[in-house]
């Protein structure tokens, strides 16, 4: 091998070490675990909406929701690379770990965001496209750049971004929004604070080191535990609204009540437990809780379809 080819190989290897990410790193930028919940709740909005949508367009809508959410996650990782590097939970992400250049992460996220919005707007409808654009903008500009580092209410207001998918799914079918879609929005909106604060309780040192104003860092564990219980008490009645409004049947209503009781028990245990164990359990259960609630809506609607 000539000296020139050795030098070329060395330069190439250095480029990789400096951020020429592998396929898995680009997938990781899209936050696939978060994306799965977003896709599912978006699909439920689409499934429950009155009217019909061609299966190809329904698939396109779900795909755009997924890509839009992933794009927002990639832009979030670009912006938060400094605090991600200081937190144990996030320091191995592709950008802070140096496997992907910050500019590449931003370009990747921005391209996907624009693509997802354009396809949603042109192929499905303008309302769904506008809502998708709004949710990405809200997550990036309001939550990530505006609230996250400034206020302990970051995830309360920022939680709205994660509550958009059912609205987008609904709008993909109807072209507008209905009361039931807004109830789904409210469920995710009220679920977000207990979900994230349970995580923040046992990751408080991490957040403090990174300078993120999460509630346990600013107000302490006791206040956070009270807030978790408060939001859970507000959430459970809202989860019963689909049945109360006649949009869902008793299958959903009874299931939601049972799940709500379990979630409330989790919150009470968190209030009483000054250690991490109850908070860890509540965080884990909160994900299952939201999946189960939305799955119940699908089951309930499927049971009420003619011929079932």
């Amino acid at each position: 091998m000539s000296e020139r080819s050795i030098a070329t190989a060395a330069r190439t290897a250095t480029a990789v070490a400096a951020g020429d990410g592998q396929l898995g790193d680009f997938v990781a930028l899209l936050k696939p675990r978060v994306m799965s919940l977003v896709v599912f709740t978006g699909f439920v909005g689409l499934f429950l909406a009155p009217g019909t949508l061609h299966p190809v367009l329904a698939l396109t809508a779900v795909l755009c929701i997924a890509v839009g959410a992933g794009a927002a996650g990639a832009i979030n990782m670009w912006y938060d690379r400094d605090i991600d590097a200081r937190m144990a939970r996030t320091r191995d992400r592709p950008v802070p770990a140096g496997r992907i250049e910050p500019g590449a992460a931003l370009g990747f996220g921005a391209s996907l965001a624009v693509g997802a919005v354009l396809v949603m707007g042109l192929a499905v409808n303008l309302a769904a496209g506008a809502l998708l654009a709004g949710s990405i903008a809200f997550y990036v500009f309001i939550y990530t750049m505006g609230l996250k580092r400034r206020t302990p209410q970051n995830i309360v207001i920022g939680g709205a971004a994660g509550a958009f998918p059912p609205l987008i799914g609904w709008a993909a079918v109807t072209g507008d929004l209905g009361v039931e879609a807004l109830v789904l929005f409210a469920i995710i909106f009220l679920w977000t604070p207990p979900h994230f604060w349970a995580l923040a309780l046992y990751r408080a040192e991490d957040y403090a080191r990174a300078g993120v104003h999460m509630l346990p860092v600013v107000a302490g564990g006791a206040a956070t535990r009270r807030q978790i219980l408060g939001y859970t008490l507000a959430l459970v009645p809202v989860t019963l609204l689909p049945t109360a409004l006649g949009e869902a049947g008793w299958t959903y209503g009874l299931g939601a009540a049972a799940l709500g009781a379990l979630f409330l028990i989790c919150a009470i245990r968190v209030l009483r437990d000054t250690g991490d164990r109850a908070a860890r359990r509540m965080f884990g259960f909160s994900i299952l809780y939201l999946f189960a609630l939305f799955a119940l809506l699908i089951v309930d609607r499927s049971l009420s379809l003619p011929g079932v």
Partner: protein, 38 residues
């Protein structure tokens, strides 16, 4: 990273990109058919 694994990594990334582009082309075709049919 030595050149061989580097080339394998880039090859995997390029194949994935090609797959994504073909999938996108197929999706646009399917959307066109769906829109024409509605």
């Amino acid at each position: 990273m030595p050149p061989a694994p580097l080339h394998r990594s880039r090859r995997a990334r390029n194949i994935a990109l090609a797959g994504a582009l073909f999938a996108l082309a197929a999706l646009f075709f399917a959307i066109t058919i769906a829109k024409l049919g509605s």
